[in-house]
Amino acid sequence: MWFLNFIPDSLLQTVILGILFSGVGLYILGLFINFIPTFYPYKEPIRILSTLLIIAGVYGEGSYANEMSWREKVKEAQSAVSLAESKSQKVNTVIRTKIVHDKKIVHDKQIVIQKEIQVNEQLINKECKLDPVVIKILNEAATNPFLKPAGDNK
């Protein structure tokens, strides 16, 4: 019940127990009222009132216990979520570091290969005559096949 959130727990528990024990006390009083003839006319109203107070007290105690159990569950869920968020941040940091590391490995390897090409440039070009068709075929192979032709909006 939402309004329980605005009442301090200790006050709520005191009020509920107060209602419950008032009901029980009044009920016991109703049992002994037979021995006091002066109060006999009040017997029935006291029984009804005590029953209502006991029921209200039981309802209140049930609601209170239920509310406290849900609050505990919320606290547990919030702590699980914050733990997951912290783990998730760690994963992101690890992956970011790995991305930088992977890029560096690829870049370093590329530099080594480029140097190797430069060193062997004479040897590579010595006996090879490059036909323009080679460039055409390589460019065709390197063209993104998913690129849409100009004007194609599909």
């Binding site: 029921i55 209200a56 239920n66 919030q78 992956i95 992977d102 690829v106 390897k109 090409i117 090879c128």
Partner: protein, 93 residues
């Protein structure tokens, strides 16, 4: 009187059952910005400038590098997703 009493007891016990659920939501984490970069297109040869095989080789090896960068990115995506999903699923249980 007994019927009213039973009704009142049932309504009293209903106090234990009324609640709307845990108001905590879990959001699937955002991916790091570094992983949202699309793979570039492969480099092409400039037919006016490329006259020798070494120049062709340079472009081809650069393209290989691009491929490996892209492969690393996809591998990292898979790793990121698996790790985050495992964390996310554990919270839901």
């Amino acid at each position: 009187m007994k019927k009213i009493l039973i009704l009142l007891i049932i309504s009293a016990l209903s106090g234990c059952a009324s609640h709307q659920g845990v108001p905590v939501t879990v959001k699937f984490p955002d991916v790091p910005q570094d992983m949202l970069i699309a793979c570039p297109n492969l480099n092409q040869l400039d037919s006016d400038q490329v006259k020798e095989l070494s120049q062709v080789l340079e472009v081809v090896t650069t393209n290989y590098s691009q491929y490996y960068n892209c492969k690393a990115m996809v591998d990292n995506w898979i790793e990121w997703y698996k790790a985050q999903k495992s964390i996310f699923d554990k919270v839901g249980k």
